[in-house]
Amino acid sequence: MSIQRADIEKLAELARIHVNEDTVTATTLGINRVLELIDQLRAADTTGIAPLANPLDATQRLREDLVSETVDRDALQAAAPAVEAGLYLVPKVVE
């Protein structure tokens, strides 16, 4: 299955990655090469085979709902591009 330029624009929107005009052709070609590769999976007979999500068939471990660690907000926010009064700053969302 191959994808077209319009599909790339839709994927870029879903993935929130701007794909600029200069690279859209190369991006489409590269992705189509990979789709050719993964299309080989179609030949495999997987009738009745359950999907394997965790290689050890392990499931998530649960723990007691207790406070285990406290967070130093200032230390965490030191890595943020823009903060003020302990809050992350983003462009205005609500008018």
Partner: protein, 488 residues
Amino acid sequence: MHDLTLAQMCHGLARRDFSSTELTRHLLERIGAANPRYNAFITIASETALAQAAAADRRRAAGDAPALCGLPIAHKDIFCTRGLRTSCGSRMLDNFVPPYDATVVERCAAAGAVVLGKTNMDEFAMGSSNETSYYGPVKNPWATDCVPGGSSGGSAAALAARLVPGATASDTGGSIRQPAALCGVTGLKPTYGRVSRWGMIAFASSLDQAGPMARTAEDVALLLQVMAGFDARDSTCLDRPVPDYAATLEQPLAGLRIGVPEEYFGAGLHPGTERAVREALAEFERQGARLVAISLPHSGLAVPAYYVIAPAEASANLSRFDGVRYGHRCADPVDLRDLYMRSREEGFGDEVKRRILIGTYCLSAGYYDAYYNKAQQVRRLIRQDFLDAFANVDLILGPTCPNPAFAFGAKGGDPVAMYLEDIYTIAANLAGLPALSVPCGLVDAKPVGLQIIGNYFDEARMLNAAHRYQLATGWHQLAPPALTETAA
């Protein structure tokens, strides 16, 4: 001093032949001189390393010398290090200084290790050549016009160039084993869940595993001993006892059953690599092991399944990089959508963007069953191949990679040509099995690796086999010719 293995350095420190401060200073000087040539380090941590070395010397003088006391190592730049920049090879995290240490980093520090710096890598560990690093590619010390492999190319090249005796790394589809093979060092991807991934920047969470690299199996065992074990902070980390890996290293191999998969010796394998691997198999036979022909019939589907599963998981994991809480933010965003779209466009490189888009496609409505679900079914078939094989054999041996190191740019713009370099390593990640690579020869004057795949949690037996092989052969001791010429 830089030619010594970790085990030899450990003896030297214990005998007071040299101090950790002397050792650390010597290696920092070498790194300072050689890094412009190899680009193996993104960050060199001279000041903190010397402080850690001084602390280790004091600790040893006080009679308290844990396993890695005063031993210099490097961390792949995928592991968060508190107060020390952690870039993951990406512009996205160019200025990221983590507020915490990864569990692996914490364990090494508790064992007394000295951290010389953070090693270069493919961006977000996505690559097999180090060419996707935002900081430029690492050069292979065996041939500087060739790639070191990837994604842990910086760790592998630093080891080969004798800049560091041990390093951490991570492996999602071969990122420890392939660079180890191409740089002539020893690297182990442990069983999925054996080593905590907490604080290791996530790529594909059902495949990622942290592991050690060094120049000998003995040193890999020493590092794994420190790295392995349960960690409640990683929900996929398994609570199983960690055996004493050093205790069984010397065991004779008589009676060992070695599976040799026919699919790993087919078309695409360089004849020189095949010769080297077959000679290695003969050495195991000489030591009393028995070779058993086996088949892993779904091997050919490993790369296609991987390139659905890994990008799918990556597209979810990398959604956290939004330009809000950490990482790159574009200039002057007009609204929140623009902030996301341009921060991610600018912060990620081409290969990372390609994989995020592919993953998004495979997970999108209407395609999930055809791609993601199908790949996870194939994954079970691949694992079953191994389970069937391990009913009759103890280890599976074959080549780590089809070819020795290739030239920069050799794979051109074709992502699939690059992906196929991982044809023998990816299946172990899909199945969650441990696998290691040891140097087993030179092809075109460049190293190639023997891959040893073990059953779940059978790292001790793999290290035993690798160590016995290294006692009988000298491939792991070879240094890149440029180093010996400089010394002479």
